[in-house]
């Protein structure tokens, strides 16, 4: 059971989309989340995800989505954190 202060972490990396097996504290900093995911990818500790010793998530961003107040059946009922590449272009 995912607690109200926790979130599942969804990651998109190397053409794969997967979740960390355990929830994290929803208020964890972006740097901490990137570090945990990097470690999981580097060591190959996530089932079905190939280990990558050169993983680099420096230019990835963290999106956070609160748990819906009244989730419909089948809808996500917990907080969620998504780690994905940035898509910013330009001089700033």
């Amino acid at each position: 059971m995912i607690q109200a202060h926790e979130a599942m972490v969804n990651v998109t990396y190397n053409g794969q989309n997967f979740e960390l097996p355990d929830p994290v504290n929803y208020t964890a900093g972006d740097g901490d989340i990137k570090a945990w995911v990097s470690e999981a990818i580097r060591t190959g500790s996530i089932r079905g995800v190939a280990a990558d010793p050169n993983v680099d998530l420096a230019n990835f961003v963290v999106d956070r989505f609160d748990a819906p107040a009244d989730p419909a059946p089948g809808q996500r009922s917990h907080n969620a954190v998504f780690l994905r590449p940035k898509t910013a272009y330009g001089l700033v």
């Binding site: 989309n17 994905r84 272009y89 001089l91 700033v92």
Partner: protein, 145 residues
């Protein structure tokens, strides 16, 4: 005189724009977020979602830079190319268009940010539309072709 000046009479590019391109050079998605400006296309979860869903069919993306002359990628551009290719698990072609020139940017290795810039002399048909949308200070849409 550059072609865009003849066609529009506009001398400066007003805002950046982008387009995701398919295998036949067709526009798959025009990225025109309301928060784009003269020098930047800010990070967009919507654009990422489109990349992810179309990662197998897209061949790359083009965005515009203000002004004239041969454009080059910024540090922001390069680190975004690197991040997106890491996330998508594939290499792509990234075009940059100024008001009168077009280049491609592709990974050349070995380092993660070692990208090569090549000048394009025969411009694809979508470039003029990208330039036109870069002159429009629209605050409207992201539209799908």
């Amino acid at each position: 005189m550059p072609r865009a000046m003849i066609m529009t009479g506009v001398t400066t590019m007003m805002t950046e724009a982008a387009v995701v391109l398919g295998p036949k050079g067709q526009a798959l998605y025009w990225h025109l977020p309301p928060n784009r400006n003269t020098v930047a296309l800010p990070d967009s979860p919507t654009l990422w979602e489109f990349y992810w869903k179309n990662r197998e069919i897209m061949v790359g993306q083009a965005h515009s830079h203000p002004g004239y002359g041969w454009p080059g990628p910024s540090y922001e551009d390069i680190t975004t190319y690197d991040a997106c290719e890491r996330g998508l698990g594939k290499r792509y072609t990234w075009w940059i268009a100024s008001m009168d020139r077009l280049v491609t940017v592709t990974w050349d290795g070995p380092g993660s940010t070692d990208y090569r810039v090549d000048r394009v002399t025969e411009e694809p048909s979508w470039v003029e539309e990208l330039r036109r949308l870069s002159q429009q200070p629209t605050s409207d849409e992201e539209r799908q072709s």
